[in-house]
């Protein structure tokens, strides 16, 4: 038997991607395997760890709990879309760099998207609110200490007018290029160079 496939247009980081997928294809798999946007990571496939969090119309959503076909008509922002159009790191990304808010980097994209939406709703979180903002995501490396610092630092950077990426207002795509097509640098230290 042949599995029925559906034509869907996924609008990700401002770019429309027509794809043909089975009804059961998870949004996380469609982003990663069909669009090549591998910044979204899959840690548990049951909606608990938050590594796969993307923004759907600005709201954090676990992309492992959503079918790709149900993302038609939505604006999706992934970690690749948090970078400024000039290539500079967004405020949350910059804060994670400065505060050593990541180690292995696997859970990081889910934290970055979650905090981006969180700071949009609450640009000046108290310390307790900063902790609360990341309380739905698992990290096994950092013990969260520096992630909480990064939330507070990101709020500071965003207030100080660092390049701000608004998830509901995604950056202009660079002549329709996909992020994965651009990633020819940075590979050496992954062991993939040469």
């Amino acid at each position: 038997m042949t599995e029925e496939r559906h034509d869907v247009v996924l609008t990700v980081n401002g770019t429309a991607h027509p794809v043909r997928v089975p009804g059961r294809r998870l949004l996380s798999d469609a982003l990663r395997h069909d669009l090549g946007l591998t910044g979204t990571h899959v840690g548990c496939e049951h909606g608990v760890c938050g590594a796969c969090t993307v923004l759907v119309d600005g709201r954090p959503v676990r992309s492992c709990l959503m079918f790709a076909v149900s993302a038609q008509d939505s604006e999706i922002t992934t970690v690749e879309g948090l970078t400024g159009s000039d290539g500079s790191l967004g405020p949350v990304q910059q804060a994670f760099l400065e505060c050593h808010g990541l180690q292995c980097g696997f859970c990081t994209p889910g934290f970055l998207t979650t905090i981006t939406a969180g700071l949009r709703d609450n640009p000046s979180p108290t310390h307790e609110e900063a902790r609360d903002m990341v309380a739905g995501n698992l990290c096994r490396c950092t013990g969260y200490q520096n992630i909480v610092k990064a939330v507070e630092r990101a709020a500071e950077l965003a207030r100080d007018g660092a390049p701000r990426v608004h998830p509901a207002d995604p950056p202009e795509p660079e002549s329709g290029q996909l992020a994965y097509e651009e990633r020819d640098d940075d590979n050496a230290s992954t062991g993939l160079g040469g």
Binding site: H33, G39, V79, L97, R183
Partner: protein, 808 residues
């Protein structure tokens, strides 16, 4: 002048790609429809014989390419997986097959392997495999294993894989003669590493080159490479293994080869296609290793000051269904148990036991948390018995700073003597007491009690053998651009190696940090390596890289001295430029950049750009001599290896203040303090990050995480919903850290490992603090609010009963 980077909190270079979503983990490799995907049929039973496997319906599924069961395996693939670390005491070692051969011994054991167009289809196909099992009675838990009424393996009597005893002096006689004696029975339950990225392997067979290329999420590329070559009958030179970004390891990815690390290459070679396996979370719970489970019996004799006179420890270690990683975990427990103390006489004996559960291999700390728990619970018991301060009893037993090197007279996990190289335990204890407010705690307790609140304080000390051998190597290459390419063979799973190793090279070579690029875990770049475990990467590869950079520097100075016609001693290197010391900055002929030195190091016949013209045969060299001297080789490179006599011993002490709710028994952390000694720090930001992460994992292990097996061997909590890993809400809000630095005399940088430290004292320190708050002996960890609630009731009932008896 270049600033020295050793000891600086340099921001991580690898973060740029991680933060942009451009990291490349195994599942990010080989995207596209040309890649085939694998799924594994796993045993639903803990113990059963396989009567028949029917795969006839599988190939009817559209998109399925192949299915393997044991009967399809040939040659070395049909033999058991390697027993990686044999030991004379491991008299009954057993390992599984890549696919089960007639019997399964845990829920999750691989039975069949399907390759299809995508993972969805592969899982559909797995569902169509019919297996006829004959159920056998399972052995679950240490009491059942010890009772041995049922056997895991028919040919392993008593379920005992190994029994190992070590003695220093006559501990039993010393205890018998001691003025005071105590006995303790303790248990620790299973937990697991649970990296956010599970296991994964991609393999591609290149028919044009006749070679296999594999990417795998491992802690040892060279180990996996050797295993693939042996099992697939390939020459080592036909196999390349690349470890890309790894989403956490914590020990579990040092075990190898996992069945899929062989089956994926086998499928790729057989089908001539790229094949990928990505483990899902449930698979990680039921087919990838656990750790920690032990039962311990301790007898101790001591004097009026609490000084140990004799220590006798017996423990039973649950190693699960198989022993691929040998006895490393229980050997570490048995030796590292001693921590910073002098036992005076010591007997330790363990039995390593089979159960029908997932196998046990090292998890961050690797047996040390259990050893620390045994020793520190004993220290607390001694203090309680004598009515002494717990810190004082520990101090009375410390090895003193002038007693290093200190030889315990035991054999450590690397087969070498357990000899501590350096440390200052009294200084660490003083710092910890200040940091946590040890002496002020009684007043704090009284203030809290006045508010109806219950608090307790605990402390725990440990020593950790880090940087075990046999060796690591490094290759440093200065290119004609002046950029420096560094390779070391061990792998990286979040420790920031690309940053710290670049710091070391920048310091030694006098180049800019930005010009150094580090590659790890690629067997094409460094085929000789061991792996990342035992907090060894900074010590081993850091030292090797330092030595290799030194060699490259020697060559730089030699060539530059010739070119500038000065003595090597008069040269210095800074910011990538070799110059004559004391010469004015712009003086002609007084400096040469490293790129030009690199050009001069490689005599050329062909010029392909302006720079290389300078190195052609009509430009350089003495016509009376060979272009490359007999004792030299072309290129500006340095290669060296570091192989220490023995491990270097880091240490630390943790203290915690907890509050326990008098009604609900909820346990809250009010303060957490760490004093840590890993010798000289390369990057304090990264070291503190490692400590943070270790403490959080320790909180999980002490208060939340356990593997809930039922009596039939089913793991009931095999999901992140039910296995309670800490979120931010469960970890301390702030961890106070102070450092003591006692440099190691064993390596050129004076460093010790730091990766595992944060997790080692957790069970011990929480047990101590909860016991202090509650006044109830805590002998089983982890402890949940429900456990504590039940403990209060049972102790309360026992007290009521004894009160009733005493009443007339």
């Amino acid at each position: 002048m270049t600033t020295k980077l050793m000891g600086q909190a340099v921001q991580r270079v690898e973060d740029q790609r991680f933060l942009r979503g451009q990291g490349r983990y195994v599942d990010d490799v080989a995207l596209g429809t040309a890649t085939l995907h694998a799924a594994v049929l796993r045993s639903p039973h803990a113990h059963a014989r396989i009567v028949d496997i029917d795969v006839s319906e599988v190939l009817d599924v559209e998109g399925v390419h192949a299915v393997w069961t044991y009967d399809d395996l040939e040659g070395p693939m049909a033999e058991p997986l390697p027993l990686l670390i044999p030991h004379p005491a491991l008299t009954h070692g057993r390992t599984q097959y890549a696919l089960a051969n007639g019997e399964v011994n845990y829920v999750g054991e691989a039975v069949a392997f399907v390759v299809a167009d995508d993972r969805y289809v592969a899982e559909d196909a797995v569902d169509r495999i019919r297996v006829d099992y004959e159920l056998l009675p399972p052995v679950v838990g240490i009491p059942a294993a010890r009772a041995a009424e049922r056997l895991v393996h028919d040919d392993v009597p008593g379920n005992v894989g190994a029994r190992l005893e070590q003695n220093v002096g006559d501990a039993r006689a010393a205890i018998a003669a001691a003025p005071h004696r105590l006995a303790l029975d303790l248990t620790v339950e299973r937990s697991a590493c649970q990296p956010m990225e599970g296991r994964g392997t991609v393999a591609r067979w290149d028919p044009d080159l006749n070679r296999l290329q594999a990417w795998t999420s491992t802690q040892t590329s060279t180990g996996v490479r050797a295993a693939i070559a042996v099992k697939l009958g390939l020459d080592l030179g036909q196999v390349d293994v690349i470890t890309p970004d790894v989403g956490g390891g914590f020990g579990v990815k040092i075990n190898h080869p996992w069945p899929e690390e062989l089956l994926v290459p086998l499928a790729a070679k057989t089908l001539g296609r790229t094949v990928k396996f990505t483990e899902d979370r449930r698979e990680h719970f039921i087919s990838t290793a656990h750790e920690r489970g032990q039962e311990q019996h301790i007898e101790v004799g001591f004097d009026d000051d609490g000084r140990l006179l004799g220590l006798d420890v017996e423990f039973w270690h649950d190693h699960g269904a198989y022993t691929p990683y040998g006895l490393i975990v229980p050997i570490i427990t048995s030796t590292q148990l001693l921590g910073p103390y002098k036992p005076r006489s010591y007997r330790v004996v363990f039995e390593s036991l089979y159960t029908n559960t997932v196998m046990v291999t090292p998890y961050r700390g690797a047996g040390r948390p259990q050893g620390c728990y045994a020793m520190e619970r004993t220290m607390d018991a001694i203090a309680s018995y004598l009515g002494k301060d717990r810190a004082e009893v520990r101090a009375a037993n410390f090895i003193q700073p002038d007693e290093f090197p200190y030889d315990h007279g035991l054999v450590f996990q690397d087969g070498r003597e357990l000899e501590y190289d350096s440390g200052d335990y009294p200084a660490s204890l003083e710092k910890l007491k200040t940091l946590v407010g040890w002496d002020e705690f009684p007043q704090f307790r009284a203030e809290m009690a006045a508010q109806g609140r219950r608090v307790g304080i605990g402390l725990a000390c440990y020593v950790e053998g880090t940087g075990v051998g046999p060796y690591e190597g490094a290759h440093v290459h200065i290119e004609t651009s002046g950029k420096v390419k560094v390779a070391t063979g061990l792998t990286t799973q979040g420790q920031g190696h690309a940053t710290v190793f670049a710091q070391l090279v920048a310091d030694e070579l006098g180049v800019r940090f930005e010009d150094v690029e580090v590659v790890t875990g690629d067997t094409r770049r460094m085929p000789y390596a061991v792996g990342t475990f035992a907090s060894r990467a900074a010590v081993m590869s850091g030292s090797a890289i330092h030595l290799a950079a030194k060699r490259a520097k020697e060559k730089v100075l030699k060539i530059a001295a010739d070119a500038l016609e000065v003595d090597e001693k008069d040269l210095q290197i800074a910011d990538g430029v070799v110059s004559v010391k004391g010469a004015p900055p712009d003086s002609v002929g007084a400096s040469i950049d490293l790129g030009t030195v690199s050009v001069l190091s490689n005599p050329l016949r062909y010029a392909f750009d302006e720079a290389s013209k300078a190195a052609t045969q009509f430009q350089v060299g003495d016509p009376g001599k060979p272009p490359v001297a007999e004792d030299d080789e072309p290129g500006l490179e340095g290669r060296d290896f570091y192989s220490p006599e023995r491990a270097t011993f880091a240490s630390g002490m943790h203290a915690v203040i907890v509050e326990t709710d008098p009604e609900t028994a909820e346990i809250s952390i009010l303060k957490y303090a760490v004093v840590h000694d890993c010798g000289n720090l390369i990057n304090p930001m990264i070291v503190e990050g490692q400590i943070h992460g270790g403490v959080a994992q320790g909180v999980g292990g002490a208060l939340y995480e356990r593997m809930a097996y039922d009596e039939s061997g089913q793991l009931l909590n095999a999901s992140f919903m039910d296995f309670l890993m800490p979120y931010v809400t469960e970890v301390p809000d702030g961890i106070d850290i102070d450092h003591v630095e006692t440099p190691s005399p064993l390596n050129p940088l004076g460093i010790k490992g730091a990766g595992e430290a944060g997790v080692i004292p957790s069970a011990a320190v929480f047990a101590a603090a909860i016991e202090d708050a509650e006044g109830i002996p805590i002998t089983a960890m982890p402890i949940s609010p429900s456990d504590l609630f039940a403990l209060r009731r049972s102790v309360g009932q026992a007290r009521d009963q004894s009160d009733a008896k005493e009443r007339p």
